[in-house]
Structure formats: C-alpha cells, structure tokens
Symmetry: C2
Subunit: 334 residues, 2 copies
C-alpha cells in the first residue's frame, strides 16, 4: 500500500497539517519536527498525491498540447521545445493528436477540460470558432504556435510567413533566377497557404518579374501530395530554373521527382524549401531552406502559457525570426 500523509503524520507524531507544511516549505514548525517528519517521509518513501493536491489547489501542473499530427517531424520539434521548457517549470504535457477532422479536436478539448489542465497550446491548425468557443468555456489560458487567429485575445508565436516567403523568393532572384515557380499550400489556407503565396507573388512583382499564375502549383504540404505537384511542374513548365517550395517535404518531393526524370539539382533546377526540418540536412543534395526555429517556438509558447497561468496577466504575441539556411540546392545563374 502506498503511504499517505496520514501515515507519515501518525508515525511522526504530528498532525497532517504539520506534515503538509514541511512538504510545502511553509513556515510553522521547529527544526526538530521538520527533521523527524523528513525522516519519516524518507522511511515510508512517501510521495504526495498530486491528484488530491490538484483538487484543492485547482492546479494540475499539466498543460494540453493539440497537434494536427503528432507524427510529423514538424510537430515533434515544436513538441520537444514545449516539453523541455514545461518540464523545467514543473508542468507535464499531455499530447493530443487531432488528426484531420474537427470531431477529434472537440473530444480532446472536453477531455482536457475534465482533466482540469491549467492551459492549452494549440498548434498549426486554424482556430475554428467552434474550438474558440470551447476554449473560452474552459476558461484556461491558450497560446497558439505556428498559427494565429482573428481572436485578438489569443496570443501566438510564429514566424512571419509572408516575409519569409518574400525573402526566399528574393534569394532566388538575387541568384539570377527569373523563371521561378512555387509549390505552395492551398490558397484557402489562411495560415501556411495564402501568406506564403502572397509573399512569393509580391517579391516577383517588386523585382519586375511578371507574375504567371500557372507557375504556382498548390496542394498539400506532405511529400506524397507534393510529388504530383512536382511532376506537374516539371512537365508543364520546363523553362523554370528555380522553385520555392512552401515546405521541406515539398522541396524534397521536387528533388526526388527531378532525379527520377534525370534532372539534376541544382545544376538544372534550383530549389529552396521551408521549415528546416532535420531531413533538410539529410537531403541529397542538402536542402537550402528557410528555417523556422521550431524548437524555440515550442519553448516560447510554453513560456507564455505558463506565465499566463501563474500571473493571470495578458501576454503579447511574438513573431519569431526565420532565416535562410544555405545548403546545396540553389545555383547562382551566370
């Protein structure tokens, strides 16, 4: 049987109140009683029950993290950052994989509420009104990571997608490229879709390059989805000398498809990716890409959330810096 606070109180000949005090470093006991209490705790190998504690304190020291897909490299980097920071602050993380559909999200939100988490980090997905309402009803702090929302009260931490894409595109232009295509997300995606496409377009415009809509190949961010976009691109636009891919997986899909057709990167076609996942450096050739500081984004999000939890004061959103990582997939045109 695990021992409880009563057991140690009894064995130490003090009240449970006293035990509780030494446990929580509150004042109110002699050095002597402290010593014996501590000794008994040791003897009984007593560990406080966080559940009982949470019932009173209304704090569970745990935070819920919602991801659209736990298994992607992107999410795990962010998660790692969150987890690391949170652990150092004595918070545990419960991970929730929301999959594609909204129903799982709502179910999870309910579970998190019942389990009385102290706060929630919501990642990558758009914060639908339904979710927002549920979150509001829960009455716990929320922070967004790698996404943002129109609900001004919800702080976020993310990169400036528009600007990052603009810079990626200019990078290509400065390397002498004029025939530039993009493999992007869906225009209808307000988070990782539209802003990146818009940044791409603007960079072209600002550099006097005529915008050709047919050079924007949209679709999903994953490798297999991008594979068809890349296939398409190579087939219909052979004049293209460089492409900006809105994710590393997309960029790598292009490299793979190109290789299959005997087109070499960067000699015949240049590519720049987006994310800087681990696989960017493992790519062959190593992928030039826009780095999002995913681990750090996780940390910052956890930091914000925890300070909202502990201080109840509003926290401000944060745009986190991206940067271009030059590897070997972009060639300078002569």
């Amino acid at each position: 049987m695990k021992s409880t606070i009563k057991d140690v109180a009894r064995k130490a000949n003090v009240s449970v109140a006293t035990v509780s005090r030494v446990l929580n470093n509150l004042p109110g006991y002699s050095e002597d009683t402290k010593r014996t209490v501590l000794r008994v705790i040791e003897e009984l190998k007593y560990q406080p029950n966080a559940i009982a504690r949470g019932l009173i304190n209304k704090r569970t020291q745990t935070i819920g993290v919602l991801f659209p897909s736990v298994s992607s490299a992107f999410s795990s980097e962010v998660l790692h950052g969150i987890e690391h920071f949170a652990h150092d602050e004595n918070y545990s993380i419960v991970v929730c994989n929301t999959a594609e559909d909204g129903r799982r999200t709502m179910k999870y939100l309910q579970v998190l509420r019942e389990k009385q988490v102290d706060g929630i980090i919501f990642s990558s997905e758009v914060l639908k009104e339904e979710y927002y309402e549920a979150l509001k009803a829960m009455d716990v702090p929320v922070v967004l990571v790698a996404t943002h929302s129109e609900y001004k009260s919800v702080p976020y931490v993310k990169v400036d997608d528009w600007k990052a894409s603009y810079e990626a595109t200019e990078y290509l232009i400065h390397k002498g490229h004029r025939q530039i295509a993009m493999i992007g997300g869906y225009e209808g995606d307000p988070i990782a879709g539209k802003p990146r496409i818009d940044g791409f377009k603007q960079a072209l415009l600002d550099n006097g390059i005529t915008l050709r809509d047919e050079l924007i190949f949209d679709g999903g961010f994953r490798f297999d989805q991008a594979t068809v976009a890349a296939e398409n691109l190579l087939l219909t636009a052979p004049e293209v000398t460089a492409v900006f891919a809105a994710s590393d997986e997309m960029a790598i899909a292009l490299i793979s498809v190109a290789a299959k057709h005997g087109i070499s990167v960067p000699e015949q076609i240049s590519v720049i990716g987006y994310d800087n996942l681990k696989l960017a450096e493992m790519s062959n050739p190593p992928l030039t890409t826009i780095a999002q500081p995913l681990y750090k984004m996780g940390e910052r999000a956890a930091d914000k959330l925890i300070s909202m939890i502990t201080s109840k004061e509003r926290v401000v959103s944060e745009i986190v810096p991206h940067k271009i990582i030059e590897r070997n997939t972009v060639r300078k045109l002569p």
Copy 2:
C-alpha cells in the same frame, strides 16, 4: 464559475448521489429524474471533474510514456500509435522526454507517480535497474516498446533485431554482394547494438563469407554521428560493394557522404537501412530498408498496457514482424 455536481443536484432537485448515478450510467433512478438531470447538465454545461473522480477511483485514465528523445522521427511514430489507441480507450498520454541522462528519467518517474498515472510505457532505452526499482515501487503496469529487459515480469513489444539484421544481410548476399560492411550501433548496446551486429555476423558466416571485424563501423544511430562512420568506411574499405546500416539515418548518411565523394548509390555501392522512417521514401534515391512497424508497435504496447490496467492480469510479450521494403538503393551484382 464552472458548475459542480452540487450545482446540478440543487437545480435538478435531487441529491448529488443521483446525479452521480446518471452520470455513470448506474441503475437507480426513474426515467423522469434521468431526463431532468440530463437537462440540467446540459443547461449548466456541466462537465465532471476528472481530478475529483480520480481521487476516489484511484484511476486517472492517463498513462505516461517515456522516450529517450521525443523529437526523433522514430519516437513520434511510436508515440502516434500509442496515442491513437489510448485515446480510443479513453486514456490520455503524458509524454516524457528523458533526454540522454538518467536523472531526467528518475525525475519523470517521480512526477508520473505523484500524478498517479495508471501505467507506463517505456521506449527504446535499456531499463536500468534503478528505473526498474522505481517502477516497481510505483506499483503500476509497465510495458516496454522497442526494447526489452532481463526483468521477466515486464512485457515488451519489439521486432526481432537479430533476425531482421540477419535477413537484411542475406538480402544483400542474395543480390550477389560479398564485400559487405555494416554501420552499426555500439556493441555494448544490448538493445539495438549487439543483436543487430550479431545477426549481421551470423548471416555472413552462414553464407561462407569471412568475417572481417574492421568492416563493422560502430557509433551512434543519428545522421551526424553516422556521417563520420560513413566517411571512414568509404576511405578505408573501397572494396565494399554493399553496406547494412542499423538505422535509416545511418544509411542516408552513407548516401550523402558517398554523393559528396562522387560515388553513386546503388551503382557503385548498395545500402540497406533499418526502421523505414518516413524519410526512407523521401531519400534520394529512395531507401531500401527493413521496416519496423513503429505505429503498430505503439498501438500494441498501449493495448497491452491498458489490458494490464483494467484486468490486472499478466500480459505476454510480443515479437512484431519486420519486413524488407525494396526501393532503389540495392543493386543486383552481375
């Protein structure tokens, strides 16, 4: 203010006992009272407090998962499988990244104990005696995934590493290779190191190929660690025509290093990996590898753990099938 069971009891003109009964689908109330109680619950948007519930039931419906590194692609696949299964069974997952050192593991074990998790899944690492003792003291079910241990009482789910390596090596041999090297883990690693190295050796022996110890390049499983092993291999053993890498990252490191030296895969050197992570198919060329069913391993582990939790009966370990995924990195020698 969130409403409690008392609030609904009061508003429904019944006792909390009755509310509790309808909440838990226990017998003991008329259809009529059930209806009004349900209505009031709806009106108040009442949700039970799982913490209070847990205090009584001694069940928190949460399980702790310990990973050496949450961010690796390997762990996230397993985690995803665990999470999916567990969620369907109404369990939540708290993730614990144990990093490299043991101190973090012990700290986490303590947190998990205080938070009264119902069970623990321990992944990839060797179950040191210190951990085992702590786990025993916690008195909750444990299952191992992608690792095993000498403590017979702890069930595991994993692939047969020896056999998988043996088959990978034979695959190379059957393709006509005789000069075969291995990039492996540490011989001292009883989980993913020794068994794979031994399987490799035995396959060579059984096929009449003289074992040359200097063709086994050991080190860490990660890309950057393997990069030096690969460098070494290419430099010191140019006669090698095929290599068995004990992880996909190692295999990809070899491909990268080879490319850097103008050596083409599979034309000049063949490679087979191990794991079948997502990046194996994104590799360039796509990587032939031994697949571990990581997602499924996660599911099976969760399944076992949950049945230990709910039925208190002992569960049996499981060797899960691996298989060779043929892609484009192994050439048949003429």
